[in-house]
């Protein structure tokens, strides 16, 4: 299964006004998302459920907008577990979330490279 839903990504490009705007957004996502994943892991280490919930929520929302649907689903699960205080269950799922985030970032970097080659 692809890390990105191509139709969602095309719709996002149209919604933000074209390839140049999308490029800026992809760069922002690539910069921000690993920090959010670190924030989630750090919050778990401190048993800070509200902070973990917030990091998962933001990553979920951004991932969905880029068509990273599997990542978004993993983040939704993380958010719900944090809200319920199930930090043990959430901790066990962090590696899968990190692996999927790496897959999404790699796919977005490819998209970025492809669009820059077209230019």
């Amino acid at each position: 299964m692809s890390a990105l839903d191509a139709a969602v990504l095309r719709r996002l490009r149209d919604d933000v006004g074209g390839a140049d705007a999308l490029e800026g957004l992809v760069e922002a996502f690539l910069d921000e998302s690993p920090r959010l994943a670190q924030e989630l892991a750090g919050a778990l280490a401190r048993a800070d459920a509200p902070r973990a919930q917030r990091a998962a929520h933001t990553l979920k929302s951004n991932a969905a907008a880029f068509g990273a649907l599997e990542l978004s689903a993993l983040c939704r699960d993380a958010e719900e577990r944090a809200r319920a205080g199930d930090l043990g269950g959430l901790d066990a799922r962090v590696p899968a979330l990190a692996a999927e985030l790496a897959r999404v970032c790699s796919a977005l970097q490819e998209e970025l490279g492809a669009s820059q080659e077209v230019e």
Partner: protein, 139 residues
């Protein structure tokens, strides 16, 4: 020209919404951005935006005001400062969620559901235009 303020602690989300607003109303739109409550209140006072797009999950913990529904706290502070400001709540929650219903009853002008779609932004802006047109006619 209408001036907008986009408030969200995620830079990606802010950029996405600002781009959708530009796409909906033209490149000439005046859009300022704020990443937390302090920045939002500063920009609100200095730039005097007519419309504020406010993330309902805005992170207040960095400003030492943790707890409660963060978007509602920000909404209250903004409307106390200027009751005629139009605040559009941006959230992944559906319109009938109790927090969204509460926010609308507190004075939020509209609700915009994430992920943001240009069509939805256009609908909100059209509603604002219609309301401002009515207000001008009343005056």
């Amino acid at each position: 020209m209408t001036r907008y303020l986009v408030v969200d602690d995620s830079r990606t989300s802010r950029m996405m919404l600002a781009a959708a607003i530009r796409n909906a109303c033209g490149q000439g739109a005046e859009i300022d951005e704020a990443g937390d409550l302090d920045e939002a209140l500063k920009a609100f006072g200095e730039k005097r935006p007519e419309v504020v797009f406010l993330d309902m999950m805005l992170d207040l913990t960095r400003t030492g005001t943790a707890g409660g529904s963060t978007g509602l706290v920000a909404l209250d502070l903004i409307l106390r400062e200027r009751p005629d400001a139009r605040v559009v709540l941006v959230t992944a929650l559906p319109a009938d969620h109790p927090d969204v219903v509460d926010a609308v009853s507190l004075g939020a002008f509209a609700h915009l559901e994430k992920p943001i779609r240009t069509d939805a932004v256009k609908r909100v802006l059209a509603t604002l235009d219609a309301e401002q047109g009515r207000a001008r006619r009343v005056k």
